[in-house]
Every structure is written in structure tokens, then in C-alpha cells.
């Protein structure tokens, strides 16, 4: 009988998988820092990034929504290569370049605070609590550019109702993932990590406010805030916090990262408002990505008929 000898490699010589993966990460990290060192002085010209894209899942049977705009969509490439997600780097192309570090499974979202039914959701359970819809929204960045994005998601209100808020729940606080290993941008204290955001209860319950889990009919990519993010279309983009791990109902107004960083420039409300300038630049116009001429910025990003009533009687110059 012929017994085949096993290979000559002793089991002690085989690199454990963990180390092997770490080594790969190290190489990736080294090349990334070499690139960013070059970009630091070299003033890169290209905003484009060729990202190694993780497998995306296609959603089936998405509902259409009356809240969707019929405006021309921005391309998938524009939406996934021009991003503000400082956790993955501060250049617009960085999030796509660094997307590979942000593993989005396993992932849990804790829903807690002033609720009768707190729960730690597994992401795959959370995305099934309500029927998924396509919501084509305008997104207006505080930096005066805008896009039209076909999100996939469900109303935040659906989740909040499940938690049975107590009478003390006046605000909703959101906390994003904090893990410098997966989010290399968090190695620098550009902002105070983790990124946090907040909404007033009525804003959170508004039917326009959604938790998004995809775009263009497929699961979100890390650079867009995978696996789950907030989308509040009448507010500047930074309110729509990405890669959420905690949703907490609270009694008092929670802090939000940009406001904590620069309170004179970024408010809690941050409603899109062409009449209230950022102290350092005008908010009267915006450049729609893909267009040459600037367009006029609309009050509440054009969602005034739905949300203006939320702010009746408020001085929006004071509560910017």
C-alpha cells in the first residue's frame, strides 16, 4: 500500500492565517501612506480613485416612492468616488481608495436610550424590519456642491416605532463606527472620533428621513457609509451620518461632530438655507456635480413643502 507522505512543510512553519492577513493589511497600509505622503506635497490632480470594490448584493422588489425626484441621476462612478467620509481620509478620492479596509460584516446596531424595547440588531435583521424603497434625493453638501442619488432604504420612523419611545425621548443621537484599524482616517484627530450626529424627534420621525442601506439598487459601498447610514435630504450632507453602530433616543439635544469642532460654522440644525451663509463661503449657489454652471440653492434643498412646518416660528439665522 502506498501512503503518500504529506508535504515537507512543518505545521509550525505555516504562517497563521491571522498573521498572514495582517501582513497583507500592513502592505496595504504602507502603500496607502506612501500615496498619501506623495499627495501631501505633490498636490494630486486626479479626484478619481480606482477602488477595489467588495461584492455588492442586488436588492429585489424595491418600492418606488412619491418623495423621489425625477431629476437626472448622478453616475454611480461620481457617487462612489467623490465622497466626504473623513474616517476614510479627507481627500474626496480617499474614501474610495481606503474602502477596502472597512469590513462591514459582522455588524450590529444598538438601539437604546429612552425606549421601552432596546435591542441590539444584527445588520441583516435590521434591513428587514421594513420594506425597502428607492428614494431618489438631492444631496446638498455644505461645501456648495450637490448630487442626485438613488438611495435604497426605509424610513427611520419605522425603526423608532418598534422601539416604543418613552415620553422622555426628545432627540435621536447617532454614533458612527470607531475603529482606526478599519478606518485609517481615524488615526488623525481631524474630528473628535467617533462621528456623532443628532436629530430632533420630529425630524427623525419625518417620512423623508431614511436609513439607507444601498444605492443604485445595490448594497452601499463603504465610501458611502456602508452598511447603514442616515439620509436627511433637506439638511447639509454632514448631518447624514455614515456607518452607524448606535442609535440612542435621548432627552436633551445631543452633540454633533462638526458643531463641536466649529460651532460658529456648523449648527445643530444645518438645514440647507441659501440665505444663511457659511461664515467663510456663500451658500446661495451650488455646483451640481456633472454640470458646468452653478445653480441656485433651494430653501430646505427644495423640500420646503414637506419640512418647512417643522421650523415654523424659528429664527433660522439663529438656529442654523
Amino acid at each position: 500500500m502506498l501512503i503518500k507522505k504529506p508535504g515537507d512543510i512543518k505545521s509550525s512553519e505555516i504562517t497563521p492565517k491571522e498573521l498572514y492577513l495582517n501582513r497583507r493589511q500592513f502592505i496595504l497600509a504602507a502603500s496607502a501612506s506612501a500615496i498619501s505622503a506623495g499627495a501631501l506635497f505633490g498636490a494630486g490632480v486626479s479626484g478619481a480613485a480606482a477602488a477595489e470594490t467588495p461584492a455588492r448584493e442586488k436588492f429585489k422588489d424595491l418600492r418606488k416612492s412619491p418623495y423621489s425626484t425625477s431629476e437626472k441621476l448622478n453616475s454611480f462612478k461620481d457617487i462612489t468616488t467623490y465622497n466626504n467620509f473623513y474616517e476614510l481620509g479627507t481627500d474626496k478620492g480617499d474614501p474610495a481608495r481606503n474602502a477596502k479596509y472597512l469590513a462591514v460584516r459582522p455588524w450590529t446596531v444598538a438601539v437604546e436610550g429612552e425606549v421601552k424595547k432596546p435591542k441590539l440588531y444584527d445588520i441583516d435583521e435590521l434591513i428587514r424590519i421594513a420594506p425597502l424603497e428607492e428614494r431618489i434625493y438631492r444631496l446638498r453638501c455644505v461645501e456648495a456642491w450637490s448630487m442626485v442619488i438613488p438611495w435604497v432604504g426605509f424610513p427611520l420612523a419605522s425603526l423608532i416605532r418598534l422601539t416604543e419611545p418613552t415620553g422622555n425621548a426628545k432627540f435621536v443621537q447617532f454614533v458612527a463606527v470607531h475603529d482606526p484599524k478599519r478606518l485609517p482616517g481615524q488615526k488623525f484627530p481631524v474630528l473628535d472620533w467617533p462621528y456623532v450626529e443628532g436629530l430632533r424627534m420630529d425630524e427623525a420621525m419625518h417620512p423623508l428621513t431614511i436609513l439607507s442601506v444601498g444605492l443604485y439598487g445595490e448594497t452601499l459601498l463603504p465610501q458611502n457609509g456602508a452598511p447603514i447610514r442616515l439620509v436627511v435630504p433637506w439638511k447639509y450632507g454632514f448631518k447624514s451620518i455614515k456607518s452607524i453602530v448606535k442609535i440612542r433616543l435621548v432627552e436633551t439635544q445631543p452633540p454633533n461632530s462638526w458643531n463641536s469642532m466649529q460651532p460658529q460654522e456648523y449648527g445643530f440644525y444645518s438645514n440647507v438655507n441659501p440665505e444663511v451663509d457659511h461664515p467663510r463661503w456663500s451658500q446661495a449657489t451650488e455646483r451640481r456635480i456633472g454640470e458646468f454652471f452653478r445653480r441656485k440653492t433651494l430653501m430646505f434643498n427644495g423640500y420646503g413643502e414637506h419640512v418647512a412646518a417643522l421650523y415654523k416660528g424659528m429664527d433660522l439665522k439663529k438656529y442654523y
Binding site: 486626479s46 467623490y82 466649529q262 456635480i289
Partner: protein
């Protein structure tokens, strides 16, 4: 010999422009090309200002005096990239909307600083010819001290426009501080200046 060095330097100074044209032609400027062009030309204008200011300290420490013959060219390239930067803002970003631009210049400190830097570069570029240097005599040097104002305003322009990540403007500012520091040292420390000249016999 130095003639060739000059040609090589001139060509090198055109590399960023080539890179910009190539990326524009191959549709590789990203989702927001106007912003990409603005940032690229602005960065290179600043880099060239700093390189120009580096000529004198490097010349003094290395004793390579021919280097000063590159200074005018480097300064003019700074003006060249600053002009592209300004033209991008004026023509592409705001499409000759004079009212908005005027309001920006008055109201937005970062625009005020950038505009000041650009405007002050104009007389420097105009008086960079040999004839002008001869005509202005001692006042030429006085006029060209404006480059320090240009550099400080340029760095401030960059620093005031970023949202939160100040690493690059701080880096440019630090380089500028070192370059200005060199000048203070060589002016106020004759001992150091003397040592730098080296043995009399070797001086050119």
C-alpha cells in the same frame, strides 16, 4: 553648462501643467473637475512661491551661486500657476459673475487673502525684466520684498479655506516659516553669515 540646467528646470516646471492637461484630456479629473483644477493650480502656485523663496537660502548654504539665475524663472512660474488658478476661479467656477466675485473678495477672508496675493504678484512679474531691474535700481529690491507678503497671504488663503484638515496648509506654512527664518538668521547673525562664506580663498 548652466544653459542646459536652465532648460531642464524650465521643462520640469511645465510637468504639472502637462499632468493637468493630460488628466483633463483623458477625463481623469474626477467628479468635480473645476474643483480639481482649482486645487491643483493653487497648490502648484504655492509650491512655486516656496521654491522661489528657497533659492537664496540654498544658494547661501551650498555656495552654488549660479542658482540665483533660476530664481526669476521660478517666480514667473509661480505667477503662471497663480494666474491659471485665478482664471479657473473667475471663468470656470463663477463664469465671470463679477458681482459675486467682488462680494467674495470683500466678504470672505480666504478670498481676500488669495486675491491680495495674486494682485501683488502682478507688479513683481511686470518688473522682472532686465530692463526693469536696471531702471528701478535700488527700488527694485524694495518692491520685490512684496514676495514675502505674497507668500504669507497665499498660505493664509489655503489655511482659511480648509474645513478641518489643516495638515497641508500647516505644512506649507512651516516651510515658509523656515525659509523666512533663514533670512532672519543671516541678517542678524553676522557670525553665522561669515562662516557660511567659507575660507576667503575659496570664495568666488
Amino acid at each position: 553648462m548652466f544653459h542646459y540646467i536652465k532648460i531642464i528646470a524650465f521643462t520640469a516646471c511645465l510637468v504639472p501643467l502637462g499632468q493637468l492637461i493630460y488628466n483633463a484630456a483623458t477625463n481623469n479629473l474626477g467628479a468635480n473637475p473645476i474643483e480639481a483644477i482649482t486645487r491643483f493650480t493653487g497648490s502648484w502656485a504655492l509650491i512655486f512661491i516656496l521654491v522661489t523663496l528657497g533659492v537664496t537660502p540654498v544658494r547661501k548654504t551650498t555656495g552654488w551661486n549660479d542658482l540665483v539665475k533660476l530664481r526669476r524663472m521660478l517666480g514667473l512660474f509661480a505667477f503662471f500657476y497663480a494666474s491659471l488658478h485665478f482664471a479657473t476661479y473667475f471663468a470656470l467656477d463663477h463664469f465671470f459673475d463679477f458681482a459675486t466675485i467682488a462680494k467674495d473678495v470683500v466678504k470672505r477672508p480666504y478670498v481676500t487673502a488669495g486675491f491680495t496675493a495674486f494682485v501683488l504678484m502682478v507688479p513683481l512679474a511686470i518688473t522682472s525684466t532686465k530692463a526693469m531691474i536696471r531702471r528701478l535700481g535700488r527700488r527694485w529690491q524694495q518692491l520685490h520684498y512684496l514676495v514675502y507678503v505674497v507668500a504669507v497671504a497665499g498660505v493664509l488663503h489655503f489655511y482659511w479655506l480648509v474645513k478641518a484638515d489643516t495638515r497641508r496648509p500647516v505644512l506649507y506654512g512651516s516651510v515658509l516659516a523656515v525659509l523666512l527664518g533663514c533670512r532672519v538668521v543671516s541678517k542678524w547673525s553676522p557670525a553665522l553669515a561669515l562662516r557660511r562664506k567659507g575660507p576667503a580663498g575659496l570664495a568666488r
